[in-house]
């Protein structure tokens, strides 16, 4: 009776990986696992250049065996743009948090989509700035308590949660935009499919591809890990519906898309 490994460290995980810096139940590494599996299955990890932003999502840089650039906060898509323009054969993808991508990085994000950069962006949405202790983010839900909205996010003061995947779909330069989550094994598989499709858009040279992934953040949500999953399934998904918002497969269709 011999045995075959079904699940363990991704092939591209360093051995040993850098010190894991993730809080109990943080789901960022689960998304990192999906990205690793997609890169391996599409056989593009060898020519991939990852640009991480600043935030909890960035700690993956010391764990996986990829060429990684750690960019200035909010500027991963600017740096990624130059890499892709100068080295178009490389598979360039950015890993960013919600604050990094649509908070401080909104200018770079919109610039990249206006230009239709052939880059893939994975945005981890945990509805707060995690690394710095759980402050308000553009994606914080109304009424959600954070370090900077102690009484809960109030629309009159802090406005409304931003729908990044839907926003991305409005740009002609965007070829693909979707939102997934990893709060159930089924959602894990759906999100993996979204991310695979996103990378395929880059390989086919169609345009910008974007996947937003909801991610549990127990310490800053002040919930146990398992209760975070419940919260995602109920409150967060109702604010941030899962699915694909744009899926075009040629630049001609992009120029005609509304």
């Amino acid at each position: 009776m011999n045995k075959k490994k079904v699940c363990g460290n991704p092939k591209i995980w360093k051995d040993p990986p850098g010190a894991a810096m993730y809080c109990p139940g943080c789901q960022h590494p689960v998304i990192d696992r999906i990205i690793s599996e997609v890169l391996e299955e599409m056989d593009i990890d060898g020519k991939a250049i990852c640009v991480v932003g600043v935030g909890c999502h960035a700690f993956v840089q010391i764990s996986w065996n990829l060429d990684v650039l750690s960019s200035a906060h909010g500027r991963a898509l600017d740096s990624g743009t130059a890499i892709k323009r100068l080295n178009p054969d490389a598979i360039v993808f950015t890993v960013q948090g919600d604050g990094d991508c649509i908070g401080i990085g909104a200018g770079a994000f919109i610039g990249a989509m206006i230009r239709g950069e052939k880059i893939t962006t994975i945005m981890f949405n945990n509805t707060n700035y995690g690394t710095t202790g759980g402050q308000l983010a553009p994606t914080t839900l109304l009424g959600q308590k954070t370090a900077t909205t102690p009484h809960g996010r109030d629309a009159a003061l802090e406005g409304y949660p931003v729908h990044t995947a839907e926003l991305a779909a409005t740009f002609k330069g965007t070829a693909y935009s979707a939102r997934g989550s990893v709060h159930t094994p089924a959602d894990y598989q759906r999100t993996k499919r979204y991310i695979k499709t996103a990378f395929q858009k880059q390989i086919d040279g169609v345009g910008f591809s974007f996947v937003e992934v909801l991610s549990a953040c127990p310490p800053n949500w002040h919930l146990s890990p398992v209760k975070c999953l419940k919260r995602i399934g109920e409150d967060i998904v109702s604010e941030f519906p899962l699915g694909e918002f744009k899926n075009e497969d040629s630049t001609e269709r992009l120029s005609k898309s509304k």
Partner: protein
Amino acid sequence: MAEKMFVQGNEAVGWGALYCGCDGFFGYPITPQNEVTQWFAHEFPKRGKVFLQSQSEVGSINMLFGGAAAGFRVMTSTSGPGWGLMQETISHLVAAELPCVIVLVQRGGPGAGSIRHAQMDYITATRGGGQGGYKNIVLAPGSVQEVHDLIQLGFHLADKYRNPLVILTDGILGQVSESVEVKTIDFGPLDKKPWALRGRERQEDGKSRIVNSAVGVLPLPPYPNYISWLKHIEEKYREMEGSELRYEIYQAEGADLILVAYGYTSRVSKEAVNMARAEGHKVGMIRPITLWPFPYSVIREKAMLGCKFLVVEDSLGLLIDDVKIGVEGRADVHLVGILDRHIPTDGGMIMPGRVFEEIKRLL
């Protein structure tokens, strides 16, 4: 094969960059450097090189961060307000040890100031305008030919020290046209940049790499911790300071009064020196070509010989501080500055006649 041209200082930036293998230019519109971005927009794409107009100067400097990390020769050009927006990432470029060239075509400040020439960014160019206090070589051309030459030297020194480098010109030098001999200046073989990001499979040793500027948070080999890395950076600064100093001395033998100036005001000062010498006054000039490292020692030598100093700079007085450091109190240091322009508007400039008057007053 050299080619003779009659071009603006801003265009000479492009020819210089082209002839030393620049791979990509990332810029944003801002007066008075628009001719630079427009040159690249016209000349680079047709040569298979990258030109990109970003959404802001924060965008262009971070595109440099990416392009440099991927091992390419990349550059940008900007002016006043755009230069202000770039400060954070110039600090990241130093920390991540990434070579690139930033051309700063100075305009009037502070704030939106004026869209015409001035020399008011001296401090932020030579003292590290961003976070954490860092150094970068600053080259100050005094002619359109020197703009072309120093761009090529700039790329060489940026690669040599893996550090961003600033070319400091001004609106006048940028807009004036002069004849230029355009050629490739040979600085030896290009650095292969084994540290650059290419994709794991495309690295010669097949190993993945990380480029990161958060060196205290995630120390990268070979520096086990923040301070050991900072020590390495300090050594780099000493090397740059020790071996990259450049300046021009003009008729300073036996001079009683030394003018100190760079950029367009150095041309004005040279004219004033000629006028003074024609009337038998013993006047000379020191023109720093590197504003960092700064020629303190040669200024100190002249001060010890009893020379007086007259700084000619189109600002309220920034370069003057470095001259005072060099003089170390041994001599008086006077200023002909922006308030001495020939007309009191953004279009006014410091004229040779005004400098000559000051020379006579001081002698």
